[in-house]
């Protein structure tokens, strides 16, 4: 019986690569979304809410709920469940609406 999802589907992915989450290295597979790469590293939260500063991550997994918003390569409000991970991506926990530097 399969012990991992990759074993179940007989995956033979291309070479893995590194992205960073708040400076911490995370291994990603080509074709995985940013959210999937973070889940595979056991990271479930990469956003804090605007009002109560609570952690959030992927919820609906299909781009509908916007709970997985992250700052990816300096760009806030990207839906991590839709954006494919690329080598060297820099993911930063998005605080609030992601535009704090604009003081709005």
């Amino acid at each position: 019986m399969a012990r991992t999802p990759a074993e179940l589907v007989g995956a033979n992915p291309g070479p893995s690569f590194e992205i960073t989450m708040d400076g911490r290295p995370v291994t990603a597979l080509p074709g995985q979304s940013v959210a999937a790469a973070l889940w595979s590293a056991g990271i479930l939260a990469w956003r804090t809410t605007r009002h109560t500063d609570r952690p959030r991550g992927a919820f609906c997994g299909i781009g509908q709920c916007y709970d997985c918003l992250a700052t990816i390569n300096g760009e806030p409000n990207r839906r991590a469940c839709l954006v494919p991970a690329r080598p060297g991506d820099v993911i930063i926990t998005q605080e609030g609406h992601g535009h704090a530097r604009l003081s709005v």
Partner: protein
């Protein structure tokens, strides 16, 4: 592809899942020029969601039912000259008097590629599917609580799990499929918690007898759950999630027939994730923005009202699959094919094989009957609001609590979801009420009759202002536009 780049397509299909694929290939095989638009980089929709080619999955079918049907649709698509426009997020559909339809999309993996595209077409098939319906409970915003469909989507495409020990909860047959997939992929699934029961199906013997494949499917899931030692607990719900930064355990409480938690009938289950969902809601905002008629479904959602050939109340706009009511991939394929045949008949007066049409209609009606039985059996009963505390966040985006919503109703006289939204901002955030709409509508109805939330959203996906600003630009081929697409 149309004869000339400035000609409209015969048919624009929105959504490349089971319904959209079937509609697109059917129409193309009858000689129609077809554009198939989908937000995802890959076709298949949510049901046939699968890993990117770079993951090298030798057995993608291991996570699917009926993969052969998808493989066949894919073969037909490859043989056709359908223009497959992936990464196109459709935000609105418009029609000028006597002119063609205009399908407006923004491009990119998440619609932020700063390019707007307008596809013109003489007819449109809407096959946008559904998203998961959620009912809130204390702790459901904690990391580790994920949609049941969400967990399956992440598993199918990213080959990842939200945790090692995952409780599956909510209502509806999707839960069995999710639990089976998670367990097959190596997760430990201590329990499936279903708020309804399965005895409700027994009240619809004719629908059951006419759909033996559904019973086989249920038996396959049942056997898999047994094999993986997954307990199925009916008439119960997760009424609280425990943990500080992530899920550590859940409280499961027995429900009465009205889904009201039974006092003292609770137990805790340790887990590091919870996959939860209460059925699916048709994604119909493109159609409702055009004024298409809807029909209430027995599960409390709204679906598009369609005629015998899948046409909406707006002439020239067809719909298939979950947009007409949740019914699964097989039903979606039949409906997509019907709509493709109907569009071809309308445009070119094809003597559309009457026998094929009748066979498809019979199959559709049979599967719709089962879908209706399913909707009734798993419909949320009003007592679910009994598991909310004042602090429970109902609207995840705007962090609006159940207390604020009840105040809006009791102190400020709100009687509907729209008024609650104006008073509290529930449903005004990023997701525009997709996650909280059903719950807010129930609370606004004061635990009385459940009123389906208004599905009217002027934009189906977020649109950059630059896309709106460019609408007045004259139509013309832009150098960066995809072939066959104007603007």
């Amino acid at each position: 592809m149309p004869a000339s780049a400035s000609d409209p397509y015969d048919l624009a299909v929105i959504g490349a899942g089971s319904a959209g694929l079937a509609g697109a290939v059917t129409a193309a095989e009858l000689g129609l020029s077809v554009a198939l638009l989908d937000g995802s980089p890959q076709h298949g929709g949510q049901f046939y969601r699968h890993p990117a080619p770079s993951m090298g999955a030798a057995r993608p079918e291991a996570l699917h039912h009926d993969w052969a049907a998808f493989a066949e649709l894919r073969r037909r698509l490859e043989r056709s000259d359908v223009s497959h426009l992936s990464g196109h997020h459709v935000w609105t559909v418009t029609k000028e008097d006597h002119g063609p339809w205009a399908v407006h999309a923004v491009t990119g993996v998440d619609g932020t590629a700063e390019r707007s595209v307008r596809v013109r077409a003489r007819t449109v098939l809407l096959a946008t599917g559904a998203y998961e319906r959620q009912l809130p409970f204390p702790g459901w915003t904690l990391p580790g609580v994920v949609g049941a469909g969400g967990a399956q989507a992440m598993l199918k495409s990213g080959l990842v799990l939200p945790g090692k020990r995952v409780v599956v909860a909510g209502s509806g047959p999707l839960l069995l499929a999710v639990a089976t997939s998670l367990a097959a992929a190596g997760a430990q699934v201590p329990a499936v918690i279903e708020a309804s029961g399965y005895l409700g199906y027994a009240r619809h013997p004719r629908a059951l007898a006419a759909n033996p494949h559904k019973l086989v499917e249920a038996a396959v899931h049942g056997a898999a759950l047994l094999r993986h030692r997954v307990r199925l607990r009916t008439r119960s719900a997760v009424t609280e999630v425990h943990g500080t930064d992530r899920v550590e355990a859940v409280t499961v409480t027995r429900l009465d027939r009205d889904w009201r938690p039974v006092r003292g009938a609770s137990r805790q289950i340790e887990c590091d994730a919870l996959a939860v969902g209460h059925g699916l809601a048709p994604q119909i905002e493109l159609a409702t923005a055009l004024g298409c008629a809807t029909r209430p479904v027995a599960d409390g959602t709204s679906a598009l009202a369609l005629d015998g050939l899948q046409e909406t109340s707006v002439r020239g706009l067809w719909a298939a699959g979950e947009t007409g009511g949740i019914g699964g991939a097989q039903l979606a394929r039949s409906e997509g094919e019907l709509a493709g045949l109907a569009a071809a008949g309308r445009l070119y007066g094809h003597p559309v094989r009457e026998e094929r049409v009748r066979a498809l209609q019979r199959r559709r009606d049979r599967m719709r009957a089962f879908a209706d039985a399913m909707a009734i059996s798993h419909a949320p009963a009003a007592g679910w609001t009994g598991w909310l505390t004042g602090d429970t966040e109902v609207c995840r985006c705007e962090e609006v609590t159940a207390r604020s919503i009840r105040e809006a109703v009791t102190d400020f006289g709100a009687r509907d979801a729209r008024t609650v939204k104006l008073l509290t901002r529930a449903g005004m955030g990023w997701c525009q009420g997709r996650m909280c709409g059903a719950a807010v509508a129930c609370l606004a109805a004061r635990e009385g009759a459940v009123e389906p939330p208004a599905e009217r959203r002027p934009f189906a996906v977020p649109v950059p202002l630059s896309a709106l600003a460019s609408l007045d630009e004259p139509t013309g081929i832009r150098p960066d536009a995809a072939p066959g697409v104007d603007d």
